[in-house]
């Protein structure tokens, strides 16, 4: 995508030795309707994520439920095939640069040498193009710990079978040897031989999560995707599990992708953080910087909503309005703008924002709309059942923040209204400081997060 073509940009996470680097990964689920099950749209669960996961570190992925963080985790672990995009495995910094350069070229611009390099890289590192052997190796190397240890363990299997299964599948061990290996794994996660012949229901939540972790570590992976590993646990147990994870990382040199909605946990665990909103990454950067000096209003809001035990200074708390928009038809421009306390004209107002707002706050008026004729996302002709409603609608639009984004005044003509907004391209991530990325257009202009306009009307 254009972001990658940008001269100064390499990937989020920079040109480091990466266990995995994703380029423009998309997962779109078709929405089918009617008798014939025709595809009427796509749920854009993950919509263009480029991210590299540096080896030996912990990358935190945070966001609200439904923002696509779990889907992204599933793409990485190979449980969901991406609709679009590339996953490069085990890329060295040099290869990273090479891929950057090559992916910005069109096939015509490539010389023979370039094409050979690309072919070599693809065969060695690109998931999907590399040999079956290598793909299997990646699968072994990348393991997952799921959120709900209650449903991710087979209730009819013994711990020996659950933890031993990966070993058996990959012909690593069998018989007594298998038992010994399982015991070794259990001891690693703080359980023991006495637990070998028990069923999952005989364990507490924390112990079950330990079994899950033992299973993930059975094949000595380098990379573990932790999908909300502690959200079902109590704080005291959560602390035990987090300590265990850190210890294992030190011992085995693991790379973690830590998916969570708990900012306290991610702040404690992660080296760098990617904040997701509606399928896209809103902000990326080193953990401490992102928390102390957020460059995206969404990060700031998440931080402010997180209750803390320490007395925070009497700073103003930012708040999100409204609800998460429909991921089938996400807002144009910056995806946060309909809910953002900082939203201004340039943030990408479009026809849908006005219609959604009308439906929500003036339902009676919304009912009077008889026809909506769009020429684009930004320009529309709305017909009402009477002229009165049209005038009322025009006045309403005049009071919205979207009003500033109109490229000409709303034209009322009898019972119909013509409206057109300034077209805005979709917000893209931009490197603001060394290693800090934000997709907020206003922040990008100012170079820092704007102040909250306190006398804002909305």
């Amino acid at each position: 995508m254009t972001m990658l073509n940008n001269t100064q940009s390499n990937l989020l996470g920079g040109a480091t030795d990466a266990v995995l680097s994703m380029r423009d990964v998309k997962v779109h689920y078709p929405v089918k309707e009617g008798l014939l099950q025709q595809v009427t749209g796509y749920v854009r669960a993950v919509d263009g994520v480029s991210l590299s996961i540096p080896r030996g570190q912990t990358l935190g992925l945070v966001g609200e439920s439904g923002c696509g963080k779990t889907t992204l985790g599933r793409v990485i672990s190979g449980l969901v095939a991406p609709t679009n995009g590339e996953l490069w495995v085990d890329v060295s910094p040099e290869d990273q640069k090479e891929i950057d350069r090559l992916s910005s070229l069109s096939p015509k611009e490539m010389g023979q040498a370039d094409q050979a390099t690309l072919k070599r890289l693809k065969e060695n590192n690109l998931l999907g193009s590399m040999s079956k052997e290598k793909q299997r190796h990646y699968r072994r190397n990348c393991q997952v710990v799921f959120q709900d240890a209650f449903s991710s363990l087979n209730p009819r299997q013994l711990v020996r079978d659950i933890v031993g299964r990966p070993l058996r599948v990959h012909h690593e061990a069998s018989g007594d040897d298998l038992d010994e290996k399982v015991v070794e794994l259990l001891e690693k996660v703080g359980l023991g031989r006495q637990h070998l012949l028990r069923y999952p229901h005989q364990f507490s939540g924390g112990q079950r999560q330990r079994i899950s972790i033992a299973r993930a570590l059975a094949l000595n992976p380098e990379f573990v995707v932790l999908d909300e590993p502690t959200s079902a646990l109590d704080v005291s147990v959560q602390a035990q599990i987090l300590n265990l994870l850190v210890e294992l990382q030190k011992d085995m040199g693991l790379t973690y992708l830590f998916i969570t909605h708990d900012l306290g946990v991610v702040q404690h665990m992660a080296d760098s953080i990617a904040v997701m909103y509606l399928g896209q990454i809103a902000e990326f950067g080193p953990t401490a910087d992102v928390f102390n000096n957020p460059l995206h209003p969404y990060t700031r809001i998440l931080r402010d909503s997180n209750p803390s035990l320490e007395d925070d200074d009497e700073r103003e708390k930012w708040d999100l309005s409204g609800t998460v928009p429909n991921p089938i038809n996400p807002p144009r421009g910056c995806r946060l703008h309909p809910r953002c306390p900082l939203a201004k004209a340039e943030c990408g107002w479009s026809v849908d924002d006005v219609l959604t707002d009308t439906e929500r706050h003036a339902p009676v008026l919304f009912e009077t709309i008889t026809r909506v004729q769009r020429s684009s996302d930004f320009s529309v002709r709305i017909e009402f059942d009477q002229a009165d409603s049209a005038t009322q609608f025009a006045t309403r639009v005049g009071q919205l923040s979207a009003h500033d984004a109109l490229d000409r005044p709303v034209a009322v003509e009898g019972a119909s209204v013509d409206m057109s907004f300034v077209e805005v391209s979709d917000a893209e991530l931009e490197q603001m400081q060394e290693g800090r990325w934000s997709s907020c257009t206003r922040t990008q202009q100012l170079g820092a997060l704007p102040e909250l306009d306190s006398n804002k009307s909305q």
Binding site: L242, N243, G264, V265, Q267, M269, L302, P307, L309
Partner: protein, 395 residues
């Protein structure tokens, strides 16, 4: 003190009989709630906090549950007290939803998936505010008592019944309008945009935050004196959580009800509660003003809970986890339940059940570190290292 309490729980014990033995889910718990205050009940999964809350409304199923001891007194307007646990089921039903109401943890499970939001909320008014509805529908003289009786019989579709019962078409329309208006007011009060549309939707059509708002509207429809909020935000995102808590707080200020707030998250307590009671394995181990308790916890368990919360300043991998696991509640031995996980535990802790000791204004703690060997009747070398505390703790 007692003349201003709204709710008094005295020595409450709830047991569950199972094939393995008797589980002491709630074990001699006493606390009180004053009007307009927020008391937080904090503890880990399985510590008995939800059972305590449900006992207040007598919602624990019997069997397998059993109220082994104790009383729950609710103060009435005329200063008399009703013991909820010994009242008749009819009296308890009059209290539920009217004087004490409850918000449950998972709004997706607590709302009836087969009824529209409007119908569900209408039930509350049908149960407790029939005369008000008839008045609003200008039907005050049309024998509400007979209708009310019918409604009681046909609770599930209360309103359909009334509407069809009222012979005149105009009257039934007026009544339906009165119902709709009451429901809409209740919904609008919780900041739900477009209540008319929400009323006609089913629970599955709403988001989690919206469902929780509906629950709050339902709980507050009859202006209760006490709202029991059982982990109202556990199933929600942080951004929504902040707004739901803010909403509950606003409603409290506007309506002046007391709140019993049940949570496992200590960081919410600081912002939200006046007083906090920490529960462990069925017993309240520490109670006091929330700022004091969080600033200087006295019970080792409270200290452990606070230390386990990840903070920016804690070095990675060095969270102070409480070692061990929560003990079994089935036929517990007569000792401090926390003894097996406590760094201070001594012989006395393993042989005598600690009782709550007053250690300051409004503060109690159930820990032998604050007690003396004489009052426990054990040799002095059985005692754990004494805690330093201002003033003399008293029983």
């Amino acid at each position: 003190m007692s003349d201003t309490t709204l709710l008094r729980v005295e020595d409450l014990s709830v047991h569950f009989r199972s094939s393995k033995g008797v589980a002491h889910a709630v074990d001699h718990v006493s606390f009180d709630i004053k009007p307009h205050e927020t008391l937080a009940l904090v503890g880990e999964t399985g510590c008995g906090k939800s059972v305590t809350a449900r006992s207040i409304l007598r919602l624990v199923p019997e069997p397998p549950g059993e109220y082994a001891s104790g009383e729950v007194f609710l103060r009435n307007a005329n200063d008399s007290e009703t013991d909820i646990l010994s009242s008749s089921p009819k009296e308890v039903r009059a209290i539920r939803g009217d004087r004490i109401s409850m918000i449950f943890q998972d709004p997706g499970k607590a709302l009836n998936p087969g009824l529209t939001i409007g119908r569900q909320l209408a039930e509350v008014f049908g149960e407790h505010r029939l005369s008000m509805l008839f008045e609003n529908a200008e039907m005050a003289d049309s024998k509400p008592s007979r209708l009310a009786q019918r409604v009681a019989q046909q609770r599930a579709n209360a309103f359909q019944k009334i509407v069809f019962d009222v012979t005149s078409r105009g009257a039934s329309k007026r009544l339906q309008k009165a119902i709709d208006e009451s429901v809409m007011d209740a919904l609008a009060d919780t900041g739900i945009p477009n209540p008319r549309k929400i009323m006609q939707s089913y629970p599955h059509e709403l988001s989690g935050g919206m469902k929780q708002r509906v629950m709050i509207a339902q709980a507050l429809a009859c202006d209760p004196d006490l709202l029991i909020a059982d982990e109202p935000t556990t199933a929600l995102d942080v951004t929504i959580q902040a707004r739901i808590l803010e909403l509950i707080h606003q409603m409290q200020q506007r309506r002046g009800m007391a709140i019993l707030y049940i949570t496992h998250d200590l960081s919410l307590v600081r912002e939200f509660a006046d007083r906090v009671a920490v529960m462990y394995a069925g017993r309240i181990v520490e109670m006091g003003p929330s700022a004091d308790v969080l600033a200087s916890p006295q019970h080792p368990y409270t200290q452990g809970l606070l230390d386990a919360i990840p903070r920016a300043a804690t070095p990675r991998g060095e969270l102070a986890a409480i070692p061990g696991t929560v003990p079994q509640l089935i036929d517990p031995p007569a000792q401090c339940h926390f003894a097996s996980r406590c760094e201070f535990a001594s012989a006395a802790c393993r042989s005598v059940i600690p009782v709550p000791l007053t250690t300051g204004p409004g503060r109690t703690v159930a820990c032998h570190r604050f007690d003396s060997a004489e009052s426990l009747g054990v040799p002095a070398d059985f005692m754990p290292v004494a805690a330093t505390v201002k003033g003399k703790p008293s029983r």
